[in-house]
Symmetry: C2
């Protein structure tokens, strides 16, 4: 090799005076090579600045040590944070992360799944479980292990996540305990988004148990933006009777709602209570601080990585790993006003 071409296994082998097989073993199974030889080889590796070629390695070993993640968007703190810890954990296992985003669209997700498959990923991380059967089937056919995260999924498949339904129900019970009876909800768009749907269902179920019929619980679905949260909150406040507590599908919606409340001169929580979900940074920064559900996204990412790696290595894995959530009581939930607006 000269100064300008990448050194190859062969170059290293020649430099160290061994065969390419030995160099390969030094790199992949160091304990199968005796120490002095190994050192000689490693020195040569160092000296030449050798790094293995990905294509060659992938071709010969039929593995890429690459893992794909397809998330709705990184532009949402919860996924960004989860992805960050996922990537770090992966990196500890010597895997690299291929990232694609679906923008919450199942069709786009499907495309990206195919891209990932074409890339020869060893495994794929997906978000949630709501997707066309054909996407799942595709992955199965290809024999690519995959994992749903951020939710616990249905009958089959592997999942690591939390129980969105139960968490939402728990928070709702807390709202009910404060004495609220006129609840309302601003949920995420639930179509093909099981997290949003589960949270909505959780709220409804808990309310129902308290004798509040579904048709007595107004629900607006909104995209996860401040603006849409604010708009939905406005609509809700125009209702008569006016809800005394608004449960939001995530913190972004909740903060949007709070901004609108201020605009409408409604005090939180004196005039109306608001709750969120996720406990992103935002939640601790608004005034009053947001009562919400804490979701350990970092732990999620890590657990997902560990689980996916096991799946790839065909080690035994639990079908579902549940990450516990916790309600964070802060300042936006209080008792309903004594004399609520009719």
């Amino acid at each position: 090799m000269n100064e300008f071409t990448k050194p190859t296994l062969d170059d290293v082998a020649r430099a160290a005076g061994v065969s390419t097989a030995t160099v390969s073993r030094c790199l992949n199974a160091p304990d199968r090579v005796i120490a002095p030889t190994r050192e000689r080889v490693m020195l040569a590796v160092e000296a030449l600045g050798y790094t293995p070629d990905f294509g060659g390695r992938a071709l010969a070993s039929r593995r890429t040590n690459t893992v794909g993640a397809i998330i709705p968007t990184m532009d949402n703190a919860i996924f960004a944070r989860g992805l960050q810890s996922f990537q770090e954990a992966l990196s500890r296992f010597g895997k690299t992360l291929l990232v694609a985003s679906s923008g919450y669209s199942p069709a786009r997700e499907r495309e990206q799944i195919e891209v990932m498959a074409g890339r020869g990923v060893d495994g794929v991380l997906l978000i949630g479980s709501a997707r066309p059967e054909s996407s799942v089937e595709f992955l199965r056919r290809r024999g690519i292990p995959f994992l749903g995260a951020w939710n616990l999924g249905g009958e089959d498949g592997y999942f690591v996540g939390f129980d969105n339904h139960a968490a939402a129900a728990g928070l709702t019970r807390m709202v009910l305990d404060q004495g609220h009876r006129r609840l309302a909800m601003i949920g995420g768009i639930s179509h093909m988004n099981d997290r949003a749907a589960d949270r909505m269902e959780g709220v409804r179920a808990a309310a129902e148990l308290a004798g509040i019929r579904r048709d007595q619980l107004p629900v607006i679905e909104a995209a996860y933006t401040f603006e849409d949260g604010a708009r939905a909150f406005g609509e809700l406040m125009a209702l008569s009777p006016r809800p005394t507590a608004v449960l939001c599908g995530n913190d972004v919606l909740a903060v949007g709602a709070m901004q609108k409340a201020r605009e409408l001169d409604l005090r939180v929580p004196e005039d109306v209570s608001i709750t969120g979900f996720d406990d992103i940074d935002l939640a601790g920064v608004v005034d009053p601080k947001l009562t919400t559900v804490r979701v350990p996204h970092l732990r999620m990412g890590e657990a997902a990585a560990e689980m996916l790696i096991k799946l790839i290595n065909k080690e035994p894995v639990e079908r579902r790993v549940e990450i516990p959530t916790a309600i964070v009581e802060r300042g936006t939930l209080g008792p309903p006003p004594a004399d609520p607006v009719a």
Copy 2:
């Protein structure tokens, strides 16, 4: 091939009654094959469910259609957002994104650069320009095109970003115009972080022009967290004379400072002015809303993708693409108190 092994080019070639070369051409340069042949081949591809093998392709063609990005962390809205649009743009060009994080450590960045190189990426996106020459040298040797983003860099290399120095200076002038003379700064850790360093220098330079000597401008470096921002702000407020305006290296630090201010019963901006940098969501949500510098992270990501693709294709590119920033005047900057604490 049978039901269980992936079809190869050879299988397709046999099925279509052509050579592998022709199949390969059908896939990579369709116009070099006559239509009837092409159709026959495509039919066979379809029938067998053939998808090219990534390893083989990478090995033979010496390119992967993969681009790497090494950022400090996704757990910072600005990078997450930029990365999101970078990825989307890349995807439009048929490239996939490999993500790694450095945690602001040049050593870790170097490692990841090597991983990326080993992965055979066609190009790499890096953040900023502050890194050991050896890292740059490595990339050069390997002939891997790379691009620094979020800043405009120095003598050589390609950059797409904004002028952190000028933006910080502009904001500082605005603070000075309000009548402030006792400035202070909470900057990011500037070691090997040119963005942080440039912002700091920008503030200092503008202050100096207004006759404020460097030693009259206290600066504390802090990690980009609420806690560190709060702590630094506490220290600054204990100074005598107390600063009347605190310029922060980013919005996270600024919000941390605002929280501390509330704790200390200092009103913003009546008792003390605070400014941020980046204009992340947080900035519009705190009370009062944060006066800060808007950085178009989405445009950044997109521009970076376009530029890197050109670099990869060896098309002509400008050495530096500057993305304009804008000062967003909101509620945390006001005139200094009439009777400032000595």
